[in-house]
Symmetry: D2
Subunit: 214 residues, 4 copies
C-alpha cells in the first residue's frame, strides 16, 4: 500500500509532518509520501521524505506567470504529482496535457476522480494511478471504504476494464489503520489522506496507526 499525505493549504507545519512520515516509512517499510504546497516542496524534500506536488499545469517552459511547471516541482524535489483533485478540477484536455508535462519531467502521476465513471475516463489517459474520492466524504470522519465500499470496488473494476496497468487508490475520510486495511481489502493499492494527518494533534501517532495493519 502507498500512503500519500496531502497537506493542502492547511496551517500545519509541513516539516513536522514530513519528518514523522519519513520516520514511520523507514521504521515500517511502508511507502509514505507527503504533498506540501509548492513553496514548501524543497524544504520538505530536504527532510528525505518522499515528496509529491499537489498539481502541475499543462505547460511547457516559457511565458507562463503564476503557473506550476512540472520541471520546477521536480527541481524542488518532487517525484510525483496529484492531478485533478476535487479542489482543483481540470479540463479533460488539461489533464491530458498535465500528464504529458509530468511525464516529460519524470514525475509519477495520480489523477483524482469523483466516481467510477470518471475513474475510467482518467484511466484512459494512462496516468500511473487514479484515485477515487467522493467529494461529499472529503474532510469527514467516515472513510470511503466504510461509507461506500461499492464505489471503491467499482472504481477498481472500471480502471481495470480500461487499462489494467493503472493502479487505483482511494481517499476521503481515511484516518486509521482499519481504514487502510479496508481499502486494501477492496482492491485499492493505496490511500490519499489529508486532514486525518495534517490536522492531527499527533501526526506521528496517526501515521503509526495507519501502517499498523500492513
Amino acid at each position: 500500500m502507498f500512503i500519500l499525505v496531502n497537506l493542502k493549504a492547511y496551517a500545519c507545519d509541513p516539516l513536522e509532518v514530513a519528518a514523522a512520515a519519513r520516520d514511520v516509512a523507514h521504521d515500517s517499510g511502508v511507502r509514505i509520501a507527503v504533498s506540501p504546497p509548492a513553496p514548501a516542496l524543497s524544504r520538505v524534500d530536504e527532510t528525505d521524505v518522499e515528496t509529491w506536488a499537489q498539481h502541475v499545469d499543462p505547460i511547457d517552459p516559457g511565458s507562463h506567470t503564476g503557473s506550476t511547471l512540472a520541471e520546477s516541482v521536480a527541481e524542488a524535489g518532487a517525484v510525483g504529482t496529484l492531478l485533478n483533485h476535487s479542489e482543483h478540477r481540470l479540463r479533460l484536455a488539461d489533464i491530458d496535457g498535465s500528464l504529458s508535462a509530468a511525464d516529460r519531467a519524470g514525475l509519477e502521476t495520480i489523477v483524482c476522480a469523483n466516481n467510477p465513471r470518471q475513474v475510467a475516463a482518467a484511466a484512459a489517459l494512462s496516468p500511473d494511478a487514479v484515485a477515487v474520492e467522493p467529494p461529499e466524504l472529503i474532510g469527514g470522519n467516515v472513510s470511503v471504504a466504510t461509507a461506500d465500499p461499492g464505489i471503491v470496488e467499482d472504481a477498481v473494476d472500471a480502471a481495470a476494464a480500461v487499462d489494467p496497468d493503472v493502479a487505483v487508490l482511494c481517499g476521503a475520510g481515511v484516518s486509521t489503520g482499519a481504514d487502510v486495511a479496508a481499502a486494501a481489502e477492496l482492491g485499492a493499492e493505496g490511500v490519499l489522506l489529508a486532514s486525518g494527518v495534517a490536522k492531527a494533534d499527533d501526526p506521528r501517532g496517526v501515521l503509526e496507526d495507519l501502517v499498523s495493519p500492513l
Copy 2:
C-alpha cells in the same frame, strides 16, 4: 452519416443556413442538424430543421445566472448538444455533470475531444457519441480525414475499446462531399463542420455537395 453544422458565433444568418439544411436533409434523406448560438435556438427550431445546442452547463434548475440549463435549450427546441468543443473545453467532472444534465432533459450528446486518448476518456463517460477534432485543423481548408486519417481510425478503435455503443464522429476542415465520404470510409458515423457551411457564399450548395456521396 450524421452531418452537424456548428454555427459557432459567426456573423452569418442562422435562419438562412437552417432553411437550407432542412431542405437538403428532406431532399436527400440524410440526417442534418444545425447548432446555432443559444439565443437563436427557438427561431432556428421554427424552421423545422433538427436543432442542437452548442453547450449545456453541469447544473440543475436554480440560482445560476448566465449559465445554460439543459432544460432551457430543450424548451427552445434543441434535441441534442455538443459538449467540450475545443473552443469551450470543460473539466472532466463537468463533462460528466453536463452529460447527466443533458440526459435529464432528454438531449442527445456529442462530446468533442482532441485526440484518440481523450476520445477514449470521453467514451468512458457514456455519451451518445464522441467527435475527434484536432484543434490545429479546425477552421482550415484540409479535412481531418485527408490530413490525418490515422487519427480518425485510432479514435474509432479507442472508443470501441472502451464502449462499442458510443458512435464516433470527426471534424475539422470538413467542407466537401469527398471529405464526408473519406470520413465514412475511416469508420466515422458522422461529421462536424462549421466554417465550411457557415462562411460559405452558398450554404445550400455546400450542403448539397456534402450529401452527394451518401
Copy 3:
C-alpha cells in the same frame, strides 16, 4: 427606479413572469425589465416586456462555440445585459472586454459587484450602471437595504467618486415595495431581484407590491 427581474436558471415559466412585468410596468409607469436564460430571450421579447441578457462574453463574432455573443442576444431582443453576477464572476480584463462587446451591440450594461471597493473598480470601467449585491444575502429573505444599509450608501459614494455618470443599483433579498423604497432612500437608482419574483406563487402580486411606493 429601475426594477430588473433576473430569472436565473429557475424552473419558473419565463413567459408568465414576462407578461406580468409588462403589465405592471405599463400600469404603473415604472421601468421593469426581465432577464431570462439566453435560450428564452426571443420568446420573452415577444411579450413586449423590456428584455435583458444575463451575460455576454468578451468576444467578437467568429469561432467561439458555446459562448454568448453580444450581437446574438441583441438580435433575440435584449436591450441590455448583466455582467459579473456573483454567480458568474468575470476576470477584470473580461469585464472590460464584455463592456466593449455590449457597447458594440448597443446593449445597456449593469456590472455587479460584491462590495463598495469592487463597485468602485467596476465603475472605473464605465458601464451604464453598477449593482452592489453582497453574496451572503442573495436568495435570502432580508433585503440588502435593511440588513446592511451602509453597504448601499458606501457603494453610491464609491461609484460617485470614480465616475458620477455611473448609476448604482442594489440587490440581494429584495422582495417588497418597502425594500424598494428603502433602496431609493439610500441613493440607489434601481434594484435587482430574482427569487422574490421568480419563485413567488403570484409574481404579478409581488411586482404590484414592488412598485406601490413609487
Copy 4:
C-alpha cells in the same frame, strides 16, 4: 525606481539571475527584486535577493489542494506578489480576495492591467502598486515606454485620479537602461521585466545596463 524581474516559467536558472540581481542591487543602490516560480521561492530567497511571488490565490488556510496560499509564499521568503498578470488574469472579486490574502500575510502587492481603464479599476482595490502592460508588447523587443508612451502617462493619470497613494509601474518589452529612464520620465515608479533578463546570455550585464541611468 523599482525593478522587478519576473522569471515566469522560463527554463533559466533562477539562482543565477537571483545572485546577479542581488549584486547589482547592492552595488547600485537600486531596488531590484526577482519573482521566481513558487517551487523556487525559498532557494531564491536564500541568495538574499528581494524575492516576490508571481501569484497568490484568494484563499484562507484550509482545504485547497494545488492553490497558492499567501502565507506559504511568505514563509518561503517572498515579501510581495504580482497579481492578475496578463498570463494569469483573475476575476475582479478574486483580485480583491487575493489582495486581502496578501495583506494578511504581510506581502506587498502589484496588480497588473492591460490598459489605463483597467489600471483605474485595479487602483480602486487599493493595492500598493499597479502595473500597465499592454499584452501585445509583452515578450517583444520594443519597450512600452517607446512604443506607446501615451499608455504609460494615461495609466499614471488614471491611477492618480482614483487613488494617489497607488504607485504605477510599467512593463512589456523593457530591456535597457534607456527603457527604464523613459519609463521614469513618463511618471512610472518602476518597471516589470522578464525575458529581457531571464533569457539574456548575460543577465548581470543586462541588469547593470538597466540601472545605469538611475
